[in-house]
């Protein structure tokens, strides 16, 4: 097991290296100039050139690339090209907001989605099943930002129940939760749709399996079959694919952060693109990629824990 973990981590190193290079290239080929972005429309060309030199943008790309890698290995993400604020500080400030949003959505999805999925699978073709299928199809189809806009208008404008500005104060849990509710609900509903659907289909598949049929024919009551045999096996893909959906969720969180003007990695990234803030942008992209790599690794490991059939070679 430990060997496997170490090997997987070693395997992801070259991938991460290529990711870093890719990120660097992506960011540099963006049209636009951070010096112009920083100085605004009133600045003269001289002033722009002076700033370019100061920001280290006048040296060759190779030098910039090795500086980038070197600093990254030292754990230095650099400072924002626009504001001069340290990128690491920026990221640390917003990361909790993104994490709480994602975790909240995943929890919401599992807590609501698994029971919904089970109820649908057990009473197949009933009203509940029908309702669940429509619900989960809607959840799979709706763009997160559209759902966010609809919820915002319903709860914040019509009912005025929830605040709409920012992400709340992290040191004040109640305030923070009030701010988290609507964005969390938006992503949570989408996650619920995924989990419901997955629970239903994997449970249905297992209920067709021979051993469940045997168990049933032996006269074991439905309920026991369901919980003891079927559910345990159905959980494997649910957990495994949950990781996959977490990756999807990270993407959607970008939109939700923008709609609800919440601080977070997503709004940091989009802002950095708009301002041509190379340092911030490349750091955020590296973090996103790192998150995906870690999630994939964790999913694989959890998969192994729940499914004893998988052996780590």
């Amino acid at each position: 097991m430990l060997n496997y973990i170490i090997r997987r981590i070693l395997q992801s190193i070259p991938i991460l290296f290529v990711v870093l290079t890719l990120v660097f290239v992506f960011v540099r080929v963006l049209p636009g100039d951070p010096a112009v972005a920083a100085l605004g429309d009133y600045a003269s060309k001289e002033a722009v050139q002076a700033l370019r030199e100061k920001l280290g943008l006048d040296v060759s790309l190779w030098v910039q690339y090795f500086r980038f890698l070197g600093n990254l290995f030292k754990g230095d993400l650099g400072t924002s090209l626009i504001t001069g604020y340290p990128v690491a500080k920026q990221v640390i400030r917003v990361l909790p907001y993104t994490l709480e949003l994602t975790v909240c959505a995943i929890l919401f999805g599992y807590i609501l989605g698994i029971p919904l999925g089970i109820s649908a699978a057990v009473r197949r073709n009933s009203f509940i099943d029908y309702f669940n299928r429509v619900f989960s199809l809607l959840g799979l189809s709706v763009p997160a930002f559209y759902l966010g806009i609809l919820l915002m208008y319903l709860f914040s404008i019509k009912l005025m129940w929830f605040p709409v500005v920012g992400g709340g104060d992290l040191s004040d849990p109640l305030d923070n939760l009030r701010h988290l509710f609507l964005p969390g609900l938006t992503l949570g509903l989408i996650m619920t749709a995924y989990i419901t659907r997955m629970t239903r289909s994997s449970l249905l598949e297992i209920l067709q399996d021979d051993y469940v049929r045997t168990a049933r024919s032996k006269g074991i009551t439905d309920r026991r079959v369901l919980y003891k045999h079927a559910l345990r096996n159905a959980l494997i893909p649910i957990v495994a694919l949950g990781g996959l959906y977490a990756v999807v969720l990270i993407g959607s969180s970008v939109m939700v952060e923008i709609v609800f003007s919440r601080p977070g990695l997503g709004s940091l990234m989009v802002g950095a693109i708009k301002q041509r803030d190379y340092n911030t942008l490349q750091s955020v992209m590296v973090i996103y990629a790192g998150m995906v790599v870690v999630i994939n690794l964790m999913t694989d490991l959890i998969y192994g824990l729940v499914d004893p059939r998988i052996k780590y070679k």
Binding site: F145, E205, I273, M285, A289
Partner: protein
């Protein structure tokens, strides 16, 4: 005695009994027809501006009201279907062609080629779809062709993985071994013998991923990386509508509904197709 049904007949029966799939198919076709015949269906020219009737509500002349240039919202939604469909279908097709080829080559040759291609796929899969799409669009700039390329690139690794996985189980199969033994050329083996066997799976996935591509395009438009005005697209309409939500909430709500219905139709269709393709669930 029951008459034995052929596989095709069985599939058709399953499909017909699968009501959501049928509804999905009907809607997909309907939306495609709307896109094709948009200029004839739309009551107004979607580009004609009129400052005198800006942001007006629903009237008999403008069933879904007007936007902040006095343009007819219904006509813009009808025309907007073109961009969404073209981008959704073309990018998935592009991703499918490129990705499948990569996946098949990797799965067939194995070894270094496989490592190279599949590690490349891993690298691309390290970024969430939307983040990859945002950055590539920011680099290329947003226009119809570039958006198709961007989303095609985003779809490519998905298809590559799918095709690769399918191929791993097929290359060892008897008829492929036989084809190899006979000395068929690789393109022929891949094209004639392997591709038809994995096409079903790819097609089902493609149907579902058209919805994903359409949604990605709307997302890009919403963050300001959509097709340039005045071309009506649903994502742009939501974005512009949000700014005037206080005056005209219908612009965002209806264009969002158009996106939702379209993606829903593709998802329902794809779901139905998968049920048919997956023998385990057939007849369930």
């Amino acid at each position: 005695m029951y008459k034995e049904l052929s596989v095709q007949q069985k599939m058709w029966l399953t499909f017909r009994r699968n009501r959501p799939a049928l509804i999905g198919a009907v809607f997909t076709i309907l939306i495609m027809l709307i896109a094709i015949f948009a200029p004839w269906i739309a009551p107004h020219d979607p580009l004609v501006q009129d400052p005198a009737i800006r942001l007006e509500g629903m009237t008999s002349d403008h069933r879904l009201g007007t936007d902040d240039f006095g343009r007819d919202v219904l006509s813009r939604i009808i025309h907007g279907s073109r961009v969404s469909l073209v981008i959704g279908l073309a990018s998935v097709l592009l991703g499918m062609v490129a990705g499948t080829m990569m996946g098949m080559i990797a799965g067939y040759y194995r070894g270094k080629v496989e490592t190279l291609i599949m590690r490349g796929v891993d690298v691309m899969m390290c970024f969430p779809d939307l983040i990859l799409a945002i950055v590539i669009t920011a680099v290329l700039g947003a226009n119809l062709v570039n958006l198709v390329i961007t989303l095609g690139l985003v779809m490519m690794p998905r298809f590559a993985r799918l095709a690769h996985g399918q191929l791993l189980s097929l290359t060892e199969s008897e008829y492929v071994l036989a084809a190899r033994a006979i000395g068929f050329h690789v393109p022929r083996i891949l094209g004639r013998h392997i591709f038809p066997n994995i096409f079903g799976e790819l097609f089902v996935a493609a149907t579902l991923w058209v919805g994903v591509a359409i949604r990605l395009e709307a997302n890009l438009a919403f963050v300001g990386l959509g097709i340039s005005p005045p071309t009506p697209t649903w994502g742009n309409m939501i974005r512009e509508g949000v700014d005037v939500m206080i005056n005209a909430p219908w612009i965002s709500i209806y264009s969002g509904l158009a996106i939702l219905i379209t993606i829903l139709a593709f998802n329902m269709l794809g779901d139905g197709l998968r049920d048919i393709a997956d023998p385990k669930l057939r007849g369930v």
